[in-house]
Amino acid sequence: MSVHRKILIIDDHRAIHEDFRKILAPPPMVSEEFDALEAELFSDGGSSPAAETRENYELSSAYQGQEGVALARESEAAGTPFAVAFVDVRMPPGWDGIETIARLWEISPRLFAVICTAYSDYSREQIDEKLGVTDRLIILRKPFDPVEILRLARDLTNRCDIERAGGRS
């Protein structure tokens, strides 16, 4: 388990947090006992591949931009910074996603930010104008495909991992 599998989710809708959890940290469906019995009975079948592919992500939830930034500051201080942040654009009544990301980057400049939007509040140009052209920002349209979330989470945490490892050595 890498220490950089930490993901921050900032969204004002609780349902979205649930969605993220279902995708990135689903509860284990199969008990260990059942797996053992199955292995014993059907020894020729081999073990189940699904369990192997699952990464373990540490998910943190914030319902407002300010809250998310506070969490980021805490984890930065604890030496376990977030690798990826999924940030919603519209989060009334506090900061919107763009402002939240800008503040997150003040604390964790290496953080990958995925901005989730159900509609075009901001165009890509407007976002670039506000946040600068960067490869650390990914725009994700709602409703999102869970596979896309999984892919993003894995890719970005891996990239982060590699970067940090490279940075350290």
Partner: protein, 684 residues
């Protein structure tokens, strides 16, 4: 003396003469009377004395005479004649013969007298008295005593002297008196006369006579002076009025001159301006035409009119204003032009051009007199282009309104999309989770068990026997069952979530449909529910602007009879207005308070308070007018429409404004208690 004229008797002389005459006459009269009286008394005295003397002597000589004692008688007579006044005395005998006499030298007596002579005889200056000498009643003689009146003559002389000297004195006195009088009366009068003469000659009314004394002459002088003053005043007044008159005449004359000059100039200017106006008319860039007000015939046109309408002048002159006016009868044209005003705005008309075109013109008519005829000079301003532009503008405005309305819709759609998007996200996730679970489901284990049993069918005893694989099978089956049950439970939960989310989406869409559909159904609704629905719909927009929303609903609110769609439309409009009104308000102070209360007029009032900029008092009623907006992009559902909608529901929409912000009140009628449950109607 000054002012004295020849041939004229001066006052002084006349006074002197008058005084002289008065003195003289008086004096003479007095002298004559006194002299006469004196002479008479002197004469009578002398006569009496003479008579008495004669009588006494007669007595004395009676005896001697009788006795003829001549000496004695002569002695008596001599005694008499010794008297100064007695010139002679004689005694005559009865026969008249002189007996004796005694005379003064120079005098003599008559030798005889008449025997009967008696009485007194005057022989001035002598006086004789004849006295009979009687003895024993017998006349024995006559005595004559002759006296003289020379004393009287002496007295006369003296009197004459006295009178003459008195008259001399009187004359002197009169002269002096006259002089004095002249000084007192004549001199001032003469002076006055001199002054009057001066006044008369020099016409100098300013000279004044000097009053010398406070007597009648003084009064006269004063009166004269007053009169002079009066004359002078009148004279001055007359002079002044004459001067005034002359000035007036002068002024009037010059005025007349000026008027004549002016008239000449005006005539020249008129001639000049006529030419200029003609050229102004001819070369005016605006189409001008002169129309006879009676016939409405066109009398004159300018070049611009010919250019603009395409008719030649000759053609124009055969036309009348109604003939070139499109789609209007002449009555209306006349009515528009026949105004008593000098200039009249005749409004817009459509005119035919020569080539069949129609132009829109704005006519302005000015009255003028053309000889005897009343005419109007009409300025035709072609507003075709302007009107077209205006129409385009109106069209554009309408399009803009439509566009902004659509933008408003889009705004709402965006909100809907946001809500739907989030829910859809969960739906997607749920579906994926279900799919994954189905894919990874352990139900395949049952087939595996069945296949295993079939493979071991020949030797089931060994399989299930001790140490056999089958020994673990029941345990596996139990685990499998619980696994499947678990899967089932998770899937059911996920499905429930999915159904719920789909319901949620449906709800959002239904709301949207409600919002978008046409006239709805009047039914009874809980007012709080309507407020909640509206707030839910506006939630995203309000949240975007960081607007805090609070709802204060009075407890136990009665249902209202309303069209849900309309109420939501109105409330959304009010919320949008409130949101837009607070754009300039700093974040954190943006508040919308929705209050729901029951009013006394059997209505429920939903009030939307904002903490925005408020509404200008002059706009408080105008905001409900059609087409009124203070916003750059007019909202899709204006307050006008909202107020109409409120009225249609027998409700009302009103506004208030204060420094704290604006309040809009939506009043809705409380539902009648009878039809309270037939409320929730499905959508058609």
């Amino acid at each position: 003396m000054p002012g004295r004229k020849k041939g004229r008797q001066t006052i002084s002389r006349r006074i002197t003469r008058l005084a002289m005459w008065v003195c003289f006459t008086g004096l003479v009269l007095v002298a004559v009377v006194l002299l006469a009286f004196d002479l008479y008394s002197h004469y009578t005295t002398a006569r009496s004395a003479l008579r008495a003397l004669a009588r006494v002597t007669a007595e004395n000589v009676r005896t001697p005479l009788k006795l003829r004692y001549v000496e004695t008688v002569a002695g008596s007579l001599g005694a008499i004649t010794a008297e100064a006044d007695i010139t002679a005395a004689a005694v005559y005998r009865a026969d008249g013969q002189l007996f004796t006499k005694s005379v003064k030298p120079g005098r003599d007596v008559a030798p005889r007298v008449e025997p009967g002579a008696f009485g007194t005889m005057r022989d001035l200056p002598l006086i004789r008295h004849y006295e009979p000498v009687v003895d024993q009643n017998k006349r024995i003689g006559t005595i004559v005593v002759e006296g003289t009146l020379t004393a009287m003559q002496e007295r006369l002389k003296t009197y004459g002297m006295v009178t003459a000297s008195t008259m001399l004195l009187a004359w002197i006195a009169a002269r002096i008196l006259a002089e004095r009088l002249q000084r007192g009366i004549s001199a001032p009068l003469v002076e006055l006369a001199a002054v009057a003469g001066k006044v008369a000659n020099a016409r100098d009314y300013s000279v004044r006579a000097v009053p010398r004394a406070a007597d009648e002459v003084g009064d006269l002088v004063v009166a004269f002076n007053n009169m002079l003053g009066e004359i002078q005043r009148r004279d001055e007044a007359i002079l002044q009025s004459r001067v005034d008159l002359e000035m007036n005449v002068l002024a009037r004359t010059s005025e007349l001159h000026l008027q004549i000059e002016d008239r000449k100039q005006a005539q020249a200017a008129l001639r000049d301006s006529e030419g200029r106006y003609r050229s102004l008319f001819e070369s005016n860039p605006m189409p001008l035409m002169v129309v006879d007000l009676e016939t409405l015939d066109i009398i004159a046109v300018n070049n611009a009119a010919m250019r603009h309408y395409g008719y030649t002048e000759a053609e124009f002159l055969r036309l009348s204003l109604p003939t070139i006016t499109y789609l209007t009868d002449s009555v209306e044209v006349i009515r528009a032009l026949r105004s008593p005003a000098k200039s009249v705005d005749a409004g817009e008309w459509k005119h035919r051009t020569r080539h069949g075109g129609i132009i829109e013109v704005h006519l302005t008519a000015h009255s003028m007199l053309l000889g005897e005829r009343l005419a109007k000079i009409i300025l035709a301003n072609d507003v075709t282009e302007r009107n077209r532009t205006q129409r385009e503008l109106v069209e554009l405005h309408k399009k803009l309104v439509d566009a902004s309305r659509q933008a408003g819709m889009a705004e709402i759609a965006t909100g809907v999309l946001h809500n739907v998007g989030n829910v859809l996200n969960s739906v997607n996730v749920s579906a994926t989770v279900l799919a994954e679970q189905t894919q990874q489901s352990k139900t395949a284990g049952i087939r595996k068990v069945a296949e295993l049993l079939q493979a071991q069918a020949g030797d089931l005893a060994t399989f299930f026997g001790p140490g056999g694989k089958g020994e673990k099978l029941p345990q596996y089956l139990l685990a499998l069952a619980s696994q499947v049950e678990n899967e089932q439970r998770v899937r059911t939960a996920e499905l429930e979530q999915l159904v719920k989310n789909v319901e949620h989406i449906k709800e959002i869409v239904v709301n949207q449909q409600d919002y978008a559909k046409g006239p709805g159904v009047i039914a009874d609704y809980a007012p709080e529910g309507l407020v909640d629905d509206a707030l839910k719909m506006a939630e995203v927009d309000l949240a975007m602007e960081r607007i805090q929303t609070t709802v204060e609903a009075a407890p136990a609110l009665p249902p209202v009879t309303a069209d849900r769609h309309k109420v939501l439309q109105i409330l959304l409009n009010l919320l949008t207005n409130a949101r837009q009104a607070m754009e300039t308000v700093p974040e954190g102070r943006r508040q919308i308070r929705v209050k729901v209360v029951v009013r006394e007029d059997h209505r429920v009032r939903i009030s939307v308070h904002d903490s925005g900029c408020g509404i200008a008092p002059e706009n408080l009623t105008r905001i409900f007018n059609h087409g009124f907006t203070t916003k750059r992009t007019g909202h899709g559902f204006g307050l006008h429409g909202s107020a109409n909608a409120a009225r249609e529901m027998k409700g009302a929409l009103s506004a208030e404004s204060s420094r704290a912000g604006a309040v809009f009140h939506l009043d809705l009628p409380i539902a009648a208690p009878a039809d309270k449950t037939s409320s929730f109607l499905p959508h058609p």
